[in-house]
């Protein structure tokens, strides 16, 4: 499940936010995550539903189209900063690892 304070993002969280850098219907996010991760990460519909609700509550994403049955989302500026922060963190991690593994 999503880590409480979003200090770091879990893999599914990271890819969901990546998917939402472009406006996307909630239902289609699962497929986009699969494509973005080259089939490595799959997000269950229940997990996705709960995460979208949490992201929306925290202002990380916002709905663009909102009908009774369908909702589309896009990442907000706050969300983008979170994602950039995570990307920078992951880059630091790989750079630090490279020092040992790519000598």
């Amino acid at each position: 499940m999503a880590r409480e304070q979003l200090q770091t993002l879990t893999e599914p969280m990271y890819y969901i936010l990546l998917a939402l850098t472009e406006e996307c219907c909630g239902v289609d996010i699962m497929e986009r995550v699969k494509v973005l991760s080259h089939g490595r990460v799959t997000v269950g519909p229940g997990t996705l539903y709960a995460m979208l609700a949490k992201f929306e509550e925290k202002g990380i994403i916002r709905p663009t189209v909102f009908t009774t049955r369908r909702k589309s989302y896009i990442i907000t500026d706050i969300g983008r900063k979170e994602l950039e922060k995570e990307y920078a963190r992951l880059k630091t991690l790989t750079a630090d690892g490279a020092f040992y593994f790519e000598k």
Binding site: M1, G26, V27, D28, V43, P45, G46, Y49, R69, R70
Partner: protein, 418 residues
């Protein structure tokens, strides 16, 4: 006419049994019975035997009062359908899905399933616990040395209620401990990499205990209060069952369901109060025949005004009994109350309470007059008399001073050892 292609099964599953539930639906499908919907129970329709895979999930955004899928649930079902699961039906926080694609992605992770189920289950337990806390307060009130304690300890009906309160609190604590133990085991199984975590939570024993306790309480209360109370209780139970059946059949939305329940409860409470009060009043009327009072003012003096009002109430329990008599005349009155018990500790509490009640007035010792263990009276002529196995509270008009002869008449009439 009975439809052979359709059957309704009343089989309760809790949120902690989602995997058992799904396995049960798959077993039924393998026998040719396919889950169709919720009605007065689980509705199955006859068809070809099929190796169907079901997923029963706790939809945390659902409401406990949902009897049918609402907009949120339908929106959730769209996500699930895209992942290979078709929603068959939903009720409360339960959602039942049938796998429609072999490559269907699990709806949630095992850890999320455990979290969702325990969260929903805990919410149910919390309401039970809130009620238990209120009742613990009531039990404490019963055992404080006040008039309520005297009323409770010397009334079998109140003792039955107190026993039920104690049981309910113990039951709630027991059930919570059971739930915590189950959760610990489930977590261990989860970390061990097992699947189908939401199982092994058979609540048959707990449900059996609850039903047996309500049954025993009804019988106990019926014995102490009279058969009308059993009839009233069964009537209420039947009314709730009929309402539950009708609502489950009609499946209104959550707001209507909640509204109907609240309205029904208010109306029923009103009916219970009115019926109980009128029956109790009729019974009281029967008991308040002053000619059967053991002592009246005429037994003590010839100059008595016209009798205007009388009142009598009594109760008894396994610990003893209490009788209260009150007679109002044109210019005088006579009130006496007797507590009889073989238990000194009960008499001590009653005596201390009565003593504190009369402490403001100046007590005059009259132990010798009553030939009692202890006795005193105050200036408003209230007599407090304690014997080995009884306490008498006697109050009459302030101008009337009791003599030895009066005391002898009173003790003879009330069966006190003077």
């Amino acid at each position: 006419m009975k439809n052979k292609n359709r059957k309704i099964v009343r089989k309760p599953f809790s949120y902690l049994q989602c995997d058992d539930f799904a396995a049960y639906l798959s077993d039924m499908a393998a026998k040719g019975w396919h889950f169709k919907e919720w009605g007065a129970g689980l509705v199955f329709e006859k068809g070809e035997p099929e190796q169907a895979v079901y997923a029963v999930e706790v939809f945390i955004h659902g409401s406990q009062y949902d009897l049918k899928p609402d907009d949120h649930t339908m929106n959730f079902s769209d996500y699930c359908e895209a992942a290979g699961w078709k929603l068959v039906d939903a009720k409360m926080k339960f959602c039942i899905f049938k796998q429609i694609r072999p490559d269907a992605v699990p709806i949630v992770t095992e850890q999320e399933r455990l979290e969702n189920a325990t969260k929903a289950y805990r919410k149910q337990l919390i309401w039970q616990a809130v009620l238990a806390i209120i009742w613990i307060g009531n039990i404490l009130m019963l055992f404080l040395p006040t008039r309520q304690f005297i009323k409770s300890i010397l009334s079998n009906a109140n003792l039955v209620i107190a026993a039920y309160w104690v049981f309910y609190c113990a039951y709630t604590i027991g059930r919570y401990i059971w739930y915590c133990a189950w959760k610990c085991k489930a977590k261990k199984r989860l970390y061990a990499g097992e699947t189908a975590i939401l199982s092994q939570a058979d609540e048959t024993l707990w449900n059996g205990i609850a039903i047996a306790a309500v049954g025993l309480f009804t019988i106990g209360y019926g014995i102490t209060m009279g058969l009308w109370m059993v009839a009233l209780f069964l009537g209420v139970l039947l009314a709730f069952m009929v309402l539950g059946f009708a609502l489950n059949k009609l499946r209104p939305d959550a707001n209507t369901y909640l509204g109907v329940q609240v309205l029904f409860s208010i109306v029923l409470t009103f009916v219970i109060i009115v019926v109980s009060a009128s029956i109790a009043s009729a019974e009281n009327e029967k008991e308040t025949d002053w000619r059967e009072f053991p002592l009246v003012y005429e037994d003590l003096t010839d100059t008595v005004g016209e009798l205007e009002d009388t009142f009598h109430t009594s109760s008894s329990s396994i610990f003893g009994s209490t009788h209260y008599y009150s007679l109002s005349y044109a210019n005088d009155y006579l009130i006496y109350e007797i507590y009889e018990t073989e238990h000194d500790w009960i008499l001590d509490i009653i005596w201390d309470y009565q003593h504190s009640y009369a402490r403001n007035a100046e007590p005059v010792d009259c132990t010798a007059l009553w030939d009692a263990q202890s006795a005193y009276h105050n200036e408003v002529v209230e007599y407090y008399v304690r014997y080995d196995d009884a306490i008498l509270f006697f109050r009459l008009d302030k101008n009337f001073i009791l003599t030895e002869e009066h005391v002898s008449i009173i003790c003879d009439a009330l069966g006190l050892e003077g």
